[in-house]
């Protein structure tokens, strides 16, 4: 390792030993490369949303999504419905037990999916996931809110759900 001459009267040479750093870097890079995963969609983490942990092995894929944080319900990143401290939504947001604005948005999504489905059918492509919604809910969310969201989706003719969870082990 090259040394640097010290100033002053000292005739010694100062040298920085870089080998331990290179060793650590090599080990770290090997570890990161081995664990590097190109799989799985990343979930945009919203403030106040902590997914429950699960032993599930299936990775997330793309689909229309509904998020329930501790303070709001977000449909397709465009509609935001506040959650009251009581754990329910304001009365003005309700329609036949479901969520009015969420229903309108999901109906739009459904309509788009139908168009896409027809196009896929014409091109012989698979469209199994078009009728499915992804639910990202905070682990503390009460089931009554999940029920309301699912009821809304049911009104918009979505009957399959993919519940997003945090995997316990990285596969």
């Amino acid at each position: 390792m090259a040394g640097v001459e010290l100033g002053g009267d000292s005739k010694g040479k100062f040298s920085l030993n870089l080998y331990p750093m290179i060793d650590i870097f090599s080990i770290l890079i090997c570890f990161l490369l081995m664990n590097f995963s190109t799989q799985g969609e990343s979930v945009e983490t919203r403030k106040g949303l902590e997914l429950p942990r699960s032993e599930v092995r299936m990775s997330l894929d793309t689909a229309a999504s509904v998020s329930i944080t501790q303070t709001e319900i977000v449909v397709q990143s465009s509609i935001t419905i506040p959650i009251l401290p009581t754990g329910d939504v304001p009365e003005s947001e309700l329609l036949q037990g479901g969520l009015r604005r969420a229903y309108e948005e999901l109906t739009k999504v459904k309509k788009n999916n139908e168009t896409l489905k027809n196009r896929n059918q014409a091109m012989n492509l698979s469209d199994k996931e078009l009728d499915t919604l992804t639910l990202e809910a905070d682990k503390k969310t009460q089931f009554k809110l999940i029920k309301r969201v699912m009821l809304t989706a049911q009104q918009a003719e979505f009957i399959s759900w993919k519940l997003a969870v945090e995997k316990n082990s990285l596969d």
Binding site: A2, L18, M21, I22, F25, L28, I29, L32, L33, N35, F36, S37, Q39, G40, E41, S42, V43, L51, P52, R53, S54, E55, V56, R57, M58, S59, L60, D61, Q96, G97, K128, E129, T132, T134, A137, D138, K139, K140, T141, Q142, F143, K144, I146, K147, M150, L151, A153, Q154, Q155, I159, S160, W161, K162, L163, A164, V165, E166, K167, L170, D171
Partner: protein
């Protein structure tokens, strides 16, 4: 046409030990390290697939068909601190058999053991309906879903018939392939 090659005489290098310049390597390592650390997935997200009830135009089976081919109907009722397994038979109106389990890892393991035994005895059981109380947190529901889907170590997968169609996105080794969240009804 022969050509003579002359070996060049090596010039004498500077005296002293030979050194490798590791600076470019360190630069490269630093960049690679930063990229990998930023791109690494430390918490992976997964998904649990469930269905909700829907209205079907298919006519219900006749009493004769039900009597001919009786099936067990499994319903799991999730409460804040307990889970009730409700087993009824399609051809009788007798009171269903009920078993209560604690909503904790050991209770859920017992629940899985019970369902596993039933499924080993009758492989037609492939569906469970979950009825959840309104105040149950989502985390507890996911615990129950895990119990119904993922077999605990030591429980070998239940062999399925070759023509059995596992729902899209569900593991073939799942304990119960079809899970329905029962109380999502209009």
């Amino acid at each position: 046409m022969s050509r003579k090659f002359k070996l060049k005489k090596r010039s004498k290098g500077p005296e002293g030990p030979v050194e490798i310049n590791v600076t470019p390597m360190i630069d490269m390592f630093s960049v690679l390290n930063s990229f990998l650390l930023m791109a690494a997935v430390f918490s992976a997200s997964g998904l649990v697939r469930v269905e909700i009830p829907f209205l079907s135009s298919k006519p219900p089976p006749t009493q004769e068909e039900v009597d001919k081919n009786p099936q067990k109907v499994l319903t799991v009722v999730v409460d804040l601190d307990s889970v009730i397994l409700d087993v009824s038979q399609t051809n009788t109106s007798q009171n269903p058999q009920k078993d209560k389990f604690d909503l904790n890892p050991s209770g859920l393991d017992k629940l899985q053991g019970k369902i596993y035994e039933m499924r080993m005895a009758d492989k037609r059981i492939d569906k469970v309906t979950i009825m959840t109380e309104l105040d149950v947190p989502y985390e507890k529901l996911v615990m129950v879903l895990d119990t119904l889907r993922i077999l605990a170590p030591g429980r070998p997968p239940i062999p399925l018939a070759a023509d059995y169609k596992v729902p899209y996105g569900v593991d073939r080794n799942a304990l119960i392939p079809k899970i329905i969240l029962g109380n999502i009804i209009l």
